[in-house]
């Protein structure tokens, strides 16, 4: 753990004043504390963090990763995808299939080959797309490939024929809606409405033991930090600058000689893969994946997390995701019906009065301070990405 921390410290030195480094540090510290409090502290201790909280945090971090994925394309390239839930879910399904196969003959029907839902829909043998999913590495490959490929296909079609802006958003929504419908179908062989559930263990570790949960949680945190740093780095390369350039003046970028569609496609694929990873980490922690994840509403909700946090600032997206979901958990507990009102209001108010999200606010406040001190060398450069 500590070695990791020091690593990121050293990174932060390289990375100058980027907001990322301190955030990553805070994130990892919180993770370390939470997990050790869960494992080391006795149940009755004041500092004990319940497994419930751990799984909850783990879920938040997965969502945060998803928000990161959306922010990469929306914040930096101006592509508003209302279908990112689809990539999330696909990644989740890939993982789910692996976990399903891990059950082996411990299913209720004791069938060594077939998952239970196939047995009682009396399917004779495993469909081709389930083959090999019992290999962890295959599954992990699928987690990246399936969302990646879908994103590539869709992006290649859409961006090449210059479907942009609102049209694109609506198309992505149609995409996830179509997937929703098709995964509901039992013929698809993904367990229909019930989806995949009742997982037993992953890589031989019991999914229900606290250790496994904490490990998953830590992995999620590391993954999130890693992807956050990576995305930040990418956005600092010339590639990143081109992406932003495309956002602000696509035709200009073309006239300078950039094949903007290729850039968009690859960024889209990258983002989709992040979403896929998020989904894959989400499933073992919540213990079920079903077509509900494809529903357009979910995908739009992701966008609002990013908007709240402040798009174009990777950290903001993550914070937004965590805040909104935390609010959701608390809110639904207090007044269930109120939640939708709150969420709706959040949509309206943020778009109206907080176009740059919380990070925007933070930046403004910081500017004020700096103005008083009136020296602001690199701050503007930072703004460039905001």
């Amino acid at each position: 753990m500590s070695s990791l921390l020091s690593n990121f410290m050293s990174f932060s030195r390289i990375n100058g004043d980027s907001k990322v480094a301190p955030f990553v540090v805070v994130l990892l510290v919180v993770t370390a504390l939470a997990s050790s409090c869960n494992l080391l502290m006795p149940e009755d201790s004041v500092f004990y963090v319940s497994t419930y909280t751990i799984t909850l945090l783990g879920k938040y971090l997965c969502y945060a990763m998803l928000a990161l994925a959306v922010d990469v394309i929306w914040g930096y390239c101006g592509i508003l995808s209302l279908g990112h839930g689809a990539f999330f879910a696909l990644g989740g399904y890939a993982m789910g299939m692996y976990l399903m196969r891990q059950i082996g003959d411990r299913g209720v029907y004791g069938n060594p080959e077939l998952p239970d839902f196939m047995v009682f829909l009396n399917w004779s043998e495993l469909p081709w797309f389930w083959q090999g999913m019992d290999q962890f590495w295959v599954a992990m490959l699928m987690v990246l490939l399936v969302p990646g490929l879908l994103a590539y296909l869709f992006g290649w079609l859409a961006f090449r024929s210059r479907v942009t802006g609102v049209y694109l958003s609506i198309m992505t929504q149609a995409l996830t809606y179509a997937l929703l419908l098709s995964f509901f179908r039992n013929e698809m062989g993904f367990g229909g409405n019930n989806g995949l559930t009742d997982f037993k263990d992953i890589l031989g570790f019991d999914l229900q033991s606290d250790n496994t949960r904490v490990t998953l949680f830590i992995i999620t945190a590391l993954m999130l930090s890693g992807l956050l740093v990576l995305s930040k780095k990418i956005m600092q390369t010339r590639f990143g600058k081109v992406i932003v350039a495309i956002r602000d003046g696509e035709s200009r970028a073309r006239f300078i000689g950039y094949r903007t569609e290729n850039y968009k496609v690859w960024l889209f694929v990258y983002s989709a893969m992040i979403a896929g990873i998020a989904g894959a980490l989400y499933v073992p922690q919540v213990g079920i994946i079903n077509p509900g994840e494809f529903s357009p509403i979910n995908s739009i909700e992701i966008v609002i997390w990013v908007a709240v946090g402040g798009r174009g600032t990777l950290v903001g997206a993550i914070i937004g995701a965590i805040l909104v979901n935390y609010a959701k958990t608390k809110f639904t507990a207090i007044m269930p019906d109120g939640w939708l009102f709150a969420l709706g209001a959040m949509f309206v108010l943020v778009t109206l009065y907080l176009p740059k999200g919380l990070m925007g606010l933070v930046a403004q406040l910081k500017d004020r301070q700096l103005q008083n001190v009136n020296n602001r060398p690199n701050d503007k450069a930072e703004e460039g990405h905001a």
Partner: protein
């Protein structure tokens, strides 16, 4: 031909196989003409924007396009740069390169730079980055991902900053520049790519007189090693730079010649200067 011969043919040492040749052909200007525009037609539902337009630009010349609004000046540039596809006609860059079958990016990489009517720079980027992005370099994804500025590129940027006089603002966000400065930055971005052909759309719009003059100087200085086509309404400016002037009217060339010839040309007087002396 026997198989042996064929193999021999294939194996000849003094030849490179076609798939090994690099296809970035250079512009063939053996006839001094850089740009051929022939029989161009384009209509937006009914309205004929371009009407059998013919235009030849010699290498290294500085050409002014004038004409009333809707004469098709900007549309012409759109067609040349591949922004809009025309209904019929041909556009050749040099002898060999058919621009109509290429898209914006390719055309740009062939060395045709364009400056828009209203300045379009990447507002969220610093002046520096704006120039860096428009560097003449391999623009495909992976190289761009790994690209870093080497010293000589750095010097090039400096040099251009010099030329457009934005050295002091290099770290400023392009968005916070004044209108004139943006115009300059955009020209600067053109220069970075060091193009063969510059299409400049209303460069002095919204500039002060001094700025205008400097622009004029710059453009004239560019002419020679580069070819420059300028669209402008400001007659003074045109007069100050123009050697040859082409008058467009309702999508086709009305007259062509020096400023004086143009001004004495009857139909021009009728349709253009007549309306707006």
């Amino acid at each position: 031909m026997s198989i042996l011969d064929t193999t021999r043919e294939v194996m000849r040492r003094d030849q490179v196989w076609p798939f090994l040749q690099d296809h970035s052909q250079d512009v063939d200007i053996s006839h001094q003409v850089l740009l051929y525009v022939e029989g161009l037609n384009l209509s937006f539902d009914g309205f004929k924007a371009l009407n059998d337009l013919n235009l030849y630009i010699n290498d290294g010349e500085l050409r002014c396009l004038i004409g009333a609004n809707g004469a098709g000046k900007t549309t012409l540039m759109d067609v040349i740069t591949g922004k809009t596809r025309c209904d019929s006609g041909t556009v050749y860059f040099g002898q060999s390169l058919n621009l109509l079958e290429k898209d914006e990016a390719e055309i740009a990489q062939l060395g045709i730079g364009r400056k828009f009517q209203k300045p379009t720079v990447f507002e969220a980027h610093t002046v520096m980055d704006n120039l860096e992005l428009s560097l003449k370099s391999n623009k495909s994804v992976i190289p761009t991902l790994l690209a870093t500025l080497n010293s000589e590129e750095y010097d090039r940027i400096d040099h251009v900053l010099e030329t457009i006089g934005l050295k002091a603002e290099r770290m400023m966000l392009a968005g916070s520049l004044s209108h004139g400065q943006k115009q300059w930055l955009e020209i600067g971005m053109l220069l970075m790519a060091n193009p063969r052909l510059l299409l400049v759309d209303e460069p002095v719009a919204g500039m002060t007189v001094q700025e205008g003059e400097r622009t004029a100087e710059l453009l004239t200085s560019l002419a020679g090693e580069r070819t420059v086509v300028v669209v402008e309404h400001d007659m003074e400016f045109v007069r100050s730079i123009a050697r040859t002037v082409t008058v467009l009217h309702q999508g086709s060339v009305l007259a062509e010649g020096t400023m004086d010839e143009i001004q004495n040309n009857q139909d021009v007087i009728e349709v253009y200067l007549g309306e707006a002396p």
